[in-house]
């Protein structure tokens, strides 16, 4: 039965499921990466995802405009990000706990708003799959990669974009400097607080879009607590990827494809307890990271508040 796993259908299925499952992780983890690179830890990603998912869904439900939905998600994400920024940068609150507070708030608010404004679970017409002409017709590869929906494509494009911004632009340089040594950056004229506000707000926006990708693109529905912990996995993936966009991509794909694999294992009836199958992505993620030799060192100023002297 295990050999059934090596058929074309299964492999294609695992990869394309993996790509879809990885999409929210990519948005959220890249967003978190920017924040962490500048020295701010945000554990509230899950709350931002849920609020973004709800807001986007609600807008589509009421206006049927996908564009408005994304704009709304961006707006809400920016607000949450700014709030987190204010609390951790201006008030220098303990970052980890502040994040947990935002997580609880976001989760509670999204559920509350859903109950009061909608109340019934229903589906919507969200982003549909777009077939890229020509590329989408390639057998096998076309099916897997080039027939996904817009938000999926954007998520994957985000990775090289983030790499470019982080490594090839002045902004990226400032972000990294602020995260490594804020005092030195400050003395060179970099506005540490502003850079951090930017990255944290960006992180909020991206987490919100991650949630929206679930509710208006991949699943076309909203349910309470529908992210089921994905926000925390996204944060974990930043560490897995050693704060590098392509590392995060590898982590998101690894985790998601193993998740897809365990579904196939169950579908094909391979006789292992279902709980063991469900555990696989988590075990493998730890294992791979343990054995990996390319672990980077994190930003030295991560979680440390910065205060300008004088």
């Amino acid at each position: 039965m295990i050999k059934d796993l090596f058929t074309a259908t299964v492999i294609i299925g695992i990869i394309s499921s993996g790509i879809r499952l990885a999409t929210p992780y990519l948005y959220a983890a890249i967003g978190e990466m920017f924040g962490q690179r500048s020295g701010v830890l945000n554990l509230g990603v899950e709350g931002q995802m849920l609020l973004g998912a709800f807001v986007a869904y609600f807008v589509v439900l009421r206006t049927e405009s996908l564009l408005l939905a994304i704009l709304a998600a961006i707006g809400v994400g920016a607000l949450m990000g700014l709030a987190m920024g204010f609390v951790t940068i201006q008030l220098q609150a303990t970052q980890g706990i502040a994040g947990i507070g935002f997580y609880l708030f976001g989760m509670g608010m999204s559920n509350l708003l859903f109950q009061k404004l909608i109340g019934v679970v229903e589906n919507i017409d969200g982003f549909s799959a777009i077939k890229i002409p020509l590329l989408g017709d390639i057998p096998v590869i076309g099916e897997i990669f080039f027939r996904q929906n817009l938000l999926v494509y954007l998520a994957f494009l985000l990775v090289p974009l983030a790499w470019f911004v982080l490594n090839k632009t002045t902004l990226g340089l400032k972000i990294r400097a602020v995260g490594e040594n804020p005092e030195a950056a400050d003395s060179l004229g970099v506005n540490v607080a502003l850079v951090r506000y930017f990255t944290v707000t960006l992180g909020g926006i991206l987490s919100s879009i991650a949630g929206a990708s679930l509710s208006v693109a991949l699943l076309n529905v909203f349910q309470q607590n529908m992210t089921a912990g994905q926000g925390f996995i996204a944060v974990a993936l930043v560490y897995f990827g050693s704060w590098r966009p392509f590392g995060i991509l590898a982590g998101a794909l690894l985790f998601s494809m193993v998740n897809a694999l365990q579904l196939w294992i169950q579908v094909l009836g391979i006789p292992i307890p279902s709980e063991l199958a469900v555990m696989l992505p988590y075990i493998l993620t730890i294992l791979v990271l343990t054995l990996s030799l390319t672990k980077g060192k994190g930003p030295s100023a991560l979680t440390k508040a910065f205060e300008r002297e004088g």
Binding site: V121, L219, M226, E275, A277, V278
Partner: protein, 333 residues
């Protein structure tokens, strides 16, 4: 630092003493007058609008309210009590407030009911979904024979599938979900043992994305009929809709969600049981009974989507099986 602690504690004690002294008066026990509304309190582990488990009890209460008339039935609820501790506190608190009937609508609440019921001999406790009343005079137990509805669904699914592959998306391999799924598989096999029924338990009640991928996986593996249980299943229904595969639902009427593909839903009508509990209470019996929502007593109903053209033979067979289960001529392994 030491002084800080001392003062902190002193102030704390002071605050508590003051608060303790301003205790509210205990709730006044209303005398049993027949035109007083019946007061019911419900404790459930998920949201009242989850389109699944808790929704069913919410729907039942609303139906009963309409039935019994204006002002005859009042109910309150505490939802999302998935922490057994908090649920116990809620159950006790409602009992203290003098509610007539308390529905502990969650199988994990058993220990709490067992502990609290003896302290309130005049309150009716109903615990679902289970069969154990702990031999207490004021505890009822109720359950749903979800394997019955599962069986019927399975029979219909077997008749409708063309690829002879059916997929099941389940949450966790326990309790009500497992009962339904086992019944479903048995129903399928009773029609045609050659049909392949594949089951995935995704390990969560809320991960909609994973449920959707599970459905996609089933579909890629050749399934053309799907079923599943628990609230995350809406992700699976969405994928079924996209692929045009038939869907069988449970716990709530899922037709509205995807009217083109939902064939039938096993719906619970807890009102059937609740009516009996209310009636027994009027007669002074506060507990000790076990109830089951079955096809026989109407506590369980298979709602077939009237807008789908399923073919008369499928509908006839469904009727036959339902009747057979009621007559007990068909038994579920």
């Amino acid at each position: 630092m030491k002084n800080t602690i001392k003062l902190f504690s002193l102030l704390l004690i002071t605050v508590l003493l003051v608060a303790g002294c301003t205790q509210a008066a205990p709730p006044v026990e209303e005398p049993e007058v027949s035109d007083q509304p019946l007061r019911v309190a419900i404790v459930t582990p998920s949201s009242m609008n989850d389109l699944a488990f808790s929704q069913s009890i919410s729907d039942a209460m609303q139906a009963l309210q309409k039935e019994m008339g204006e002002g005859k039935l009042e109910y309150v609820y505490s939802e999302n009590m998935f922490v057994v501790d908090d649920a116990a506190a809620a159950i006790r608190s409602y009992a203290q407030q003098g509610f007539d009937i308390i529905l502990a609508h969650g199988s994990q609440y058993g220990s709490s009911v067992q502990e609290i019921a003896p302290d309130f001999p005049n309150t009716v406790f109903a615990w679902g979904t289970t069969v154990d009343t702990f031999d207490m005079p004021n505890v009822h137990a109720y359950e749903a024979a979800s394997d019955e509805g599962g069986f019927v669904n399975g029979v219909m699914a077997a008749l409708l599938t063309e690829t002879k592959v059916i997929g099941v998306v389940g949450p966790i391999e326990t309790g009500d979900a497992k009962l339904y799924i086992d019944g479903f598989a048995a129903g399928v096999k009773s029609v045609d043992p050659e049909i392949d029924v594949r089951v995935t338990y995704i390990g969560s009640f809320s991960d909609v994305a994973l449920a959707a991928e599970a459905a996609t996986t089933h579909l890629s593996a050749g399934a053309d009929v799907l079923t599943g249980s628990a609230q995350m299943v809406i992700g699976a229904i969405g994928k079924a809709k996209e692929a045009g595969a038939y869907w069988f639902g449970t716990q709530a009427d899922q037709t509205s969600f995807a009217p083109d593909v939902v064939v039938a839903s096993q719906v619970y009508h807890w009102e059937v049981i609740l009516r009996e509990i209310f009636a027994l209470r009027q007669d002074g019996v506060l507990g000790g009974e076990t109830f089951a929502a079955t096809l026989d007593n109407g506590g369980q109903v298979i709602k077939i989507n009237p807008d789908l053209d399923l073919g008369q033979d499928v509908l006839d067979e469904a009727e036959r099986v339902i009747q057979g289960i009621i007559d007990q001529t068909i038994s579920i392994p």
